[in-house]
Amino acid sequence: MKKQTLIIITALVLVIILILGIVFFVVSKSTTTGSVFPSSFSSLFGDDGGILGDLFGLDDTQETTSNEENSTIPPGTLPALRQLYPYPISGMKLLSKETTDESGNKTRELFVRIMERSTGNIYDISVASNKATRITNTTYAETQESFFSQDGTHVISRSIAENGSTVTTTAFDIILGGEDVTGTDIDESIGSLKERFSKTNVTSLSVSPEGTRIFTVSDKSAGSSHDRFSFTDESAKQLLSSPLSEWISEWTKSDTVYLTTKPSAGVPGYAYTLDANTGSSLTKLAGGIPGMTLHMSSKKNLGLIGSGSRSSLTLSLLKDDGITSLPLSTLPEKCSWNDTDTGIYCGVPSYIPSASYPDAWYKGTVSFEDNIWYMNENTGELLFLASPSDYGLPSLDIINPEIDTEEHRLIFMNKNDMTPWILELDF
């Protein structure tokens, strides 16, 4: 009996150790995500079938208490691939500022300015420490998309009205704490958003590369109006009146706006250039490409062309002398050109589910599991940079990537939960 009891006790101890080991593993997994909120816990208990898995892993009740500064993680311990902020955002901008320490030494600090989707509050997140600081407390709920000016002092946001159909586009000045522009007694410790103007029926919007001008495509009866204005002045100059409505605009070169027809799998798409100063007429850039999407570079006459059909995505390089296919199957909008237009950083799906592209991705019926790649445009060299699974992270579906000028940091959003992320490249 003694021997039997001993065996039972030993078995119990082993079971307890096993349970503790599982708990430890899960907790350590949540901390290596780089997020101070262990979202992986909720996903463990919310799994279900369907192509997208659990859709309700985020606890929405947290958002009412989330508007405080997050706790910080000591510098030097942050994983290279990490979430910058745990709640959905509508847009972000990589910025830098000069800081002076107690000894008078000046350093350049990188931070990411975001607009929180649920509140419209603006936060600055330190790249070095992941510390999030709220800088405005003006509420502007349900922002779907946000675009910051180049210096981050203005933001233009788009939201959907209660009727579910009208899109309202609003431009704001970001008034930092201490700037008393109204003459009233305000809390100097936190800033606010000052509304400049608001427009409706804008179907596509892009910001100029110097970050001061805005280009919009707006619906009108029988076609669209293509206008240019600025963050601070809503008086618009009409650059073009088109009998077509379905345009996607991109403004990567100071003098040139690119207009691409909205894509659908297998349907020939067309891209044109429009003089951003004078407008007048469209000049054909490329066309007849099925399911065409486009992402142009900022300096050279280079572009990434995506072609979509049923069950395939192809990426090509557009140059002056023609179009060359690339060995990456992804969408141009999942890529960022570097500052010299010699390379691209892309989120590339690890596999392409059977569906019509890009329609299925735009509708949200397909979500990709991306790895991050770099390709040298001159040599064709491909370099694998990172995979979320290598960090024990959930899958990432990359959108809005932006590489910094030194090519040390790639920031992007995860389409699955609209949170901001960063990949440090000098590791």
Partner: protein, 350 residues
């Protein structure tokens, strides 16, 4: 009686006159022979209005001249490009828009030499269609596709460059439209400056073909194109309407979802249904839960909120049938299984 000297002069004059006549007839007749041969040979460019970069074929044909046995030289803009016995066609890419390409063929047959010339000016026209009454959610980046009976606009965007090097304005060109190969159904929409064709998708044809030929007023410049317009079925996709965040269009709810909170706000987006207002409010939405009909918000019939009482759990099937009262062939159905909490109550929605 004529003297010998006078007779000699007469004979000399007659011979000279006869020789001159013969020479005159030969000189005057020979060119006519060459001109007649040239008229028996035709030269053609295909396509008649090539687009920039398009492969162009130049072809010689004749019923009376032995072209297969002829020696043929081809010149492009004055430079010899090709030659050969019986080489009756030449293929080359069309050049830049507005830049004239001159072709000359020199044909040697039956001891005769014939020259034929032709030129062409590449232009281009893109045909882009839009289903103007087809619904897609706000901020949707994809193309709205036409369902049965949808209203479609086809717009020709020409790239015609004149001799001055300037692009001819679209409103200064003549448009001849065809629908499924025929002009008759769209004659009224053809003409000067008529850059857009409107049509309603034929319920019997899954794909329709629209073509256009455009030309300058003097006919010297032109281009042509054809485009196929597919037909698609409307579809309904569910999305979560999140408090303070709005519709979560990044992820559609399909098949089965697990509800972690006690409330689910659903928005149903009826892709590709025809709407007059650009909103889905004129459509018919019939919601049901586990087979029983339920009502939705009168102001927003494509949205519905489900509340899960405390302590209840289980699985429910939410279904939606959408119809278009003004276009009866447009309809769609979909359903979603929702797994929720703990089962104690029969009341699952509000």
């Amino acid at each position: 009686m004529l003297s010998f000297r006078t007779h000699t002069i007469l004979v000399r004059d007659t011979v000279i006159h006869t020789l001159l006549t013969i020479v005159f007839l030969c000189v005057s007749f020979f060119p006519h022979t060459t001109h007649a041969l040239e008229s028996f040979v035709s030269i053609r460019v295909s396509p008649a209005y090539p687009s920039v970069g398009e492969q162009v074929s130049i072809t010689l044909s004749s019923y009376s001249v032995d072209l297969p046995g002829a020696s043929i030289l081809w010149y492009v803009n004055g430079s010899q490009r090709a030659s050969g016995i019986g080489m009756t066609s030449l293929s080359l890419p069309a050049g830049q828009a507005g830049k004239t390409t001159s072709i000359r063929a020199v044909i040697s047959a039956n001891g005769e030499t014939i020259q034929k010339t032709i030129s062409f000016v590449p232009g281009g026209v893109d045909l882009i269609w839009e289903a103007t009454d087809s619904y897609t959610p706000p901020l949707y980046k994809g193309k709205a596709l036409p369902a049965s009976s949808a209203l479609v606009h086809v717009v020709a965007i020409p790239n015609i460059v004149g001799s001055s090097g300037k692009t001819v304005a679209p409103e200064n060109l003549v448009y001849t439209w065809t629908l499924n190969g025929f002009k008759r159904d769209v004659t009224s929409q053809s003409g000067y400056g008529k850059q857009t064709l409107s049509l309603m998708k034929n319920v019997l044809l899954s794909t329709e073909s629209v073509g256009v030929e455009i030309s300058s007023r003097d006919g010297s410049l032109g281009a042509g194109a054809t485009v196929s317009i597919p037909q698609t079925d409307p579809e309904i996709l569910f999305y979560e309407q999140r408090p303070l965040q709005g519709p979560w269009y990044g992820r559609a709810l399909i098949d089965t979802v697990t509800l972690l909170s006690n409330e689910l706000s659903l928005i149903a987006e009826p892709y590709y249904f025809s709407t007059k207002t650009g909103t889905p409010h004129n459509l018919g939405f019939a919601w049901s839960m586990n087979g029983s009909s339920i009502s939705s918000d009168w102001n927003n019939p494509h949205m519905i909120i489900f509340g899960v009482p405390e302590g209840t759990s289980g699985k429910a099937t939410v279904s939606l049938a959408t119809t278009n009262p003004s276009k009866l062939l447009q309809d769609a159905k979909t359903s979603l299984s929702v797994i929720f909490g703990n089962t104690e109550s029969s009341s699952w929605f509000k």
